[in-house]
Every structure is written in C-alpha cells, then in structure tokens.
Symmetry: C2
Subunit: 209 residues, 2 copies
C-alpha cells in the first residue's frame, strides 16, 4: 500500500497557469506526464469556481485513462465536482479531518513548513506531507523560510508517512533531496516554465534514479 502510494507520489507536477503561459495548463500536463510525471496537482488561486471545475474535469478526463491521479489544491468542492483523486491542503485550507469526512476515499496531502507543523499533524488523517519549501522559491509569494536539506532530514526522522519535497527543486538537486529523505519530488517552475516540459520531466526522472 505504502509502496504503491510512494510510487504514485514520486514525481509530482504542481501546476501554475501563469508559468504555463499561452500553451495552457493541459498542454503542459500532457507533456510532463509523457516525460514521467506520476501525479498532477491542479493549483488555481485566481480562477473562478466554474472555470476551475471545467479545467479539473479536462485534466481528469486526460489523466484517468493513463492511471495518473489528479489532486486539487485547497478546493474540496472542485475535487468533488470533477471526480479528482485527492486534495492537497495547506495549513490555512480545510482541516484534513474535514476533508476526510467529505472525501473518505481521497488521497489527502498536507503542507508542512516546520517540524512543529509536522508534529501537530501526525494524528490527522493525512496520506502524505508536502514538505516546503526545501529551497527558497519565487513561485509561492507567501512561502515560509527554506528548510534546507537538514530541515527535510529532521522532518524525515519524525514521521513514517510519505514526504513529497517542494520548493526550488530541479534536476540539479533532485538526487540530494531524495537522499535527505524525500519519497517524492514536487515541482512547479522546473516543469511549468520549461520550454520543453516533457524533456524536463525525463531529465528529472533520470536524476531520481
């Protein structure tokens, strides 16, 4: 079970529609999955609900036959309406226990930005943690201070749950992040801003061993 989950979480694309640009989120997702992305998190902080649901459905329709799960950032309503596989919540989003009640079978991820947050979350019904930011990043304006590889390793030492590292991760540091204890990597810029997201995903996959 955990093996299967870790495999699913291995290379996680978190979308950023501004970085995806004119080619659109779906085109970037298609290319990134072709290059080896194992899980897609749709994150939309500006989109109105109806458009968000439509985008989630388009992604789900494309991802489902390929066996790649779709996770929705924050919005349980969008996840329910689109038939997504899971929800990723931050510390200010819906509490994991509430998400679990509304989506009993969903994959639930929670962002933790410190050891204290990790410890507070261990009793909550969470399937994996997004550990962030490992390195400093320009993608998320409200990000906490970078944890560094040592901070990631300290979190690794305190939980048996799968860890997906995020924040400033690219092909050049992927192996070091895994060595520090991450089960999977989540990337935004390294794929969404790539001229060739398929090639960028292949390179990342290759560096993950």
């Amino acid at each position: 079970m955990r093996e299967r989950l870790v495999e699913t979480l291995r290379l996680h694309l978190v979308t950023d529609s501004a970085l995806c640009g004119e080619r659109g989120v779906l085109a970037v997702v298609e290319a990134a999955v072709a290059g080896g992305v194992s899980c897609v998190q749709l994150r939309e902080k500006q989109l109105e609900t109806r458009a968000f649901v439509e985008r989630a459905r388009a992604l789900k329709a494309w991802l489902a036959p390929r066996g790649v799960p779709l996770i929705i950032n924050d919005r349980v309503d969008v996840a329910l309406a689109s038939g997504a596989d899971g929800v990723h919540v931050g510390q200010s989003d819906m509490a994991p226990a509430d998400v679990r009640r509304l989506m009993p079978g969903a994959l639930i991820g929670l962002s933790v930005e410190s050891l204290a947050q990790l410890e507070a979350a261990e009793a909550a019904p969470v399937d994996y943690y997004g550990v962030s930011p490992v390195f400093s990043t320009a993608t998320k304006a409200d990000a906490a201070p970078a944890l560094g590889l040592a901070g990631l390793a300290a979190i690794r030492a305190r939980t048996a749950r799968p860890l997906v590292a995020i924040g400033g991760i690219h092909a050049g540091n992927a192996a070091a992040v895994l060595a520090a204890g991450a089960d999977g990597l989540a990337v935004v810029s390294a794929l969404c801003a790539a001229a060739d997201p398929a090639a960028a995903a292949r390179l990342l996959s290759a560096r993950m061993g």
Copy 2:
C-alpha cells in the same frame, strides 16, 4: 412548499465582513436576526478556507436553534463542512446541476442579472433566483448594470420560481421592489453598514408589510 420557501427567503441578509467592521459578522447577524432577518447568506471572498469554515460553523451553531437557514455564497466545500442549509451561486460559480449533485437536499440560489440568464437557468435545479442588481450599488464591484423595477418585473413575468431582489435595496424602496414582483429582499449595506442592524432590520420588515 413554495409558501414556506418564500417565507424563508423574505428578508435575506448577505454578509460583508468589511462593512460589518470591528463588531464582526456574527454580531451583525445576531442583531439582524433579532430584528427580523429570515435567512442569512455568508459571503466571504477574501477569507482562507479554514477560517471560512470556522465562521460558517459559528453562524450555523447560532442560527440553527432559531430556525434561520444559513446559505453559503459560492463555496460548496464550506457549505458541506459547516452543515449549511444551502449555497448561493453566481454565473461564474459552480453550475447549479453540480451543486445539486453534491448537496441533494440543499437550498440552491442562483444570481441572474438579465432576462437571458433567467431563461438559460429555468431548466437548472435552482430553488430561487437572486435578481441583481435592482438598483446600482457600491457593494459589489463587478455588478452588472442595474435592472430597475421594470427589469425586475420583466423577469417576474417569465418565471414561477421565487425571486429575491438584491442591489441598493433599503427601507425606502422595499415596498416598491416587492410590488414589482420580488418574493423577498436581500440586503448587504442596509444591514451590515447600519449603526443598529436590529433596528434597521425591524424597519425593513415593517416596510415589507
């Protein structure tokens, strides 16, 4: 059934936390209900999800024993997590058919800003329409042009569903809006910005006959 629904929708408070100010949304709701408000719609466009759920639960806990329904603007996730009685959606929010699927027993309201939108919505699973804006208003930055009493009357002529009029409504024009065909009135500023929301609600109720 329709009688009961219309009674419920008769005087509808739509919250605006900025206008409620330091006294807070719950205090304004309490005063407005004491003054005769029959239905409360919690509208939060800035609040993060966890805080939105917490506010919705606090309102629901206070309203439920008083038999006053709580309707959540836009967010089905917040409505589900808080046990709210309904959801009010705009044209860019979740489609009514999707809301109905996720909340089969909920009260579903839809904003319509023109006759064309009304006609397009008649086949959708909607319990009432919010007809807006009847008069021009500063409360909603993205509001469509004012319909006026004639526009409201034209919409009234085309549907049997209950109509809740919103936009620039106050004690001074309440009777005219009802005479033009509204079943209920929804107010934001006239209650949220009132020095004494209970007195303001009593005055509105009195003018509604």
